[in-house]
């Protein structure tokens, strides 16, 4: 496969961009050789969540970046493990890890607990979970597209996209009862069925989006302004995406066919033959820039529509939960022992939940959450390299960061930042294992 390099000045596809950069940035002017530090964050009008990015700039060009997280650690895992909560209560806590992927975390968490406790999920419940999570993907990707347009300074497109997004939120409210935080999955199934009266409304929404998707693709991808601002900006090459373990649309935009729904199908996803989408499906060679990320996310809206259509057509009949009575479920979970892993392709990438249950204990013994941004954050380093200051907002936004979902403890002792080494972490893990085995 011949991948073209956007940084190559002889690249025939991007001549204008490269020339322009030469004019604005080149030349041995005084002051350009000096390197300045530009701190952005943790609280900054351009950032939606607290994170600190320290850029080292030469003129307008970024020569280095340092990322520091740890400003919004909420200790949700700790709350779920230590405060005498039972698993049903922790389920709603897991839903509040992320507001936008508010069904992705419960889906991964319920799967983990179901594997640990040996609970079967009826087929109809699996289909309903798939439908809700795909509807959520549509809303999340449209939200991201609007935010991206806003970061480009193209607010008309933001309002256009978010007007379109309203419909899917209405459908989610109709199906679950709330626009955000749907509270649909529960251990062993789902809490709300899709009734025959609701099918026509979902079909209507699918038709609405089918008609609009082509217009959206046109508005985003065939617009000279968007193309000039995003082509060759924030490039994550395929090799770097592989090496930094990028997930979700960030990795797929670089040409990696990486999607948990394709690689390790869970729930009913094996019925739909999901194939990871890369810019190749739109007839483009994957570059890994912001433009490709827009392509991938908009195409995934269409893919989600396909999956919902198939799911609605082939919806099996039957029970929606294997534990209709919650007290019986709680009793079963109290007896359960073991460990389980749950995964899900959230709109931002792969989310993983690990749980460990102990017999006779209602609460969780261990709960570990890996949010997709945790994997994607590192890909900021190659993306920011050699870019301009004006492109910082769109590059920061292009991985769809969710800082609070992934934030970890940052230790500051006596005013000094402490970092754990590999050996230190290994020792901690040994100690924890010993404590658990006792």
């Amino acid at each position: 496969m011949s991948e073209r390099n956007p940084k190559d000045p002889e690249n025939p596809v991007l001549p204008g961009v490269e020339e322009e950069r030469e004019v604005t940035l080149g030349g041995p002017e005084r002051g350009l050789a000096e390197v300045f530090e530009v701190p952005i964050g943790p609280i900054h009008p351009a950032l939606k969540e607290p994170i600190r990015l320290t850029f080292r700039v030469r003129g307008e060009r970024i020569v280095g970046v340092q990322i520091r997280t740890g400003f919004a650690h909420r200790g949700i895992e700790f709350m779920g493990m230590r405060q005498g909560r039972n698993l049903v209560q922790v389920l709603y806590l897991s839903e509040r890890i992320c507001g936008i992927c508010s069904v992705s975390h419960p889906i991964a968490f319920t799967q983990a607990v179901e594997r640990a406790a040996g609970i079967e999920v009826p087929p109809r419940a699996q289909y309903i979970r798939v439908i809700i999570s795909e509807l959520e993907r549509i809303h999340s990707h449209l939200l991201w597209a609007g935010v991206a347009a806003h970061e480009l300074g193209f607010d008309t497109l933001l309002h256009l996209t978010w007007r379109v997004r309203e419909k899917v939120l209405d459908i989610l409210e109709e199906l679950s009862g709330n626009r955000i935080n749907y509270a649909i999955p529960i251990f062993g199934g789902v809490r709300r069925d899709i009734t025959p009266e609701q099918y026509p409304k979902v079909w209507e929404a699918i038709r609405y989006y089918r008609g609009l998707l082509e217009q959206l693709l046109d508005a985003f991808l065939r617009d000279p302004t968007v193309e000039a601002r995003t082509r060759g900006v924030g490039v994550l090459e395929r090799k770097e995406a592989e090496g930094l373990c990028a997930v979700g649309p960030t990795a797929r935009a670089s040409g990696l066919r990486k999607d948990v729904r394709q690689d390790r199908p869970y729930l009913a996803y094996s019925d739909f033959q999901v194939r990871a989408i890369t810019p190749k499906d739109y007839g483009l060679t994957p570059v890994g820039d912001v433009y490709d990320k827009i392509v991938v996310r908009l195409l995934e809206v269409g893919q989600s529509l396909d999956i919902i259509e198939k799911a609605l057509e082939n919806m099996p009949e039957g029970e929606i939960t294997s534990f209709p009575k919650i007290p019986a479920l709680l009793a079963h979970l109290k007896k359960a022992e073991g460990e389980g892993l749950g995964w899900h392709e959230a709109p931002r990438g792969e989310v993983i939940h690990y749980v460990r249950l102990a017999a006779g204990d209602e609460s969780l013994l261990v709960w570990k959450v890996k949010a997709p941004t945790y994997s994607n954050l590192l890909s900021w380093y190659p993306m920011f390299e050699d870019q301009e200051i004006a492109d910082i907002p769109i590059i920061a936004a292009c991985i769809d960061p969710c800082i609070c979902c992934m934030d970890r403890v940052y230790i500051v002792r006596d005013g000094k930042e402490e970092a754990w080494t590999k050996e230190g972490l290994l020792r901690l893990s040994w100690e924890k294992t010993r404590r658990l085995q006792r």
Binding site: R85, V88, R96, N178
Partner: protein, 130 residues
């Protein structure tokens, strides 16, 4: 495409529902007293769907005091009163997951469509259900 959208937008009615009034009244209290006197009227809000999870309704007569709702509530909204064997709910803490409604064996708890719950006092009458 832009022209078509523009014209259709010009001709269509605004999507915003003018709730509770078309224009901000100069004095809210005066407006409310006039509404009560029947001189002015409130624009109704947009209809919520049937499954909407609003403020929890409580039927005191049906409650048997089994405390199952307290066991499943993730936000510790529900307080048990042992002398009467009934519950009191602090709606200000509620996350509206409706798990208590699902678990209630006698259907004493129910979902209502009420969503106007903004208040300056957590203990106000509107936010305590018992």
């Amino acid at each position: 495409m832009i022209l078509k959208t523009l014209i259709s937008q010009l001709l269509s009615r605004p999507a915003t529902n003018q709730f509770p009034t078309k224009y901000m009244p100069r004095s809210v209290t005066k407006f409310l007293t006039r509404v009560q006197a029947g001189e002015d009227k409130v624009h109704p809000p947009v209809q919520v769907p049937a499954r909407f999870r609003g403020k929890i309704g409580y039927d005191r007569e049906k409650c048997i005091g089994c405390q199952l709702c307290i066991r499943v509530c993730p936000a510790k909204v529900i307080e048990f009163k042992p002398e009467t064997k009934k519950i009191r709910m602090h709606v200000a803490r509620c996350t509206f997951c409706a798990q208590c409604v699902d678990v209630c064996p006698t259907a004493a708890l129910s979902l209502t469509a009420e969503f106007l719950l903004a208040d300056t006092d957590r203990g106000s009458k509107n936010l305590i259900v018992e």
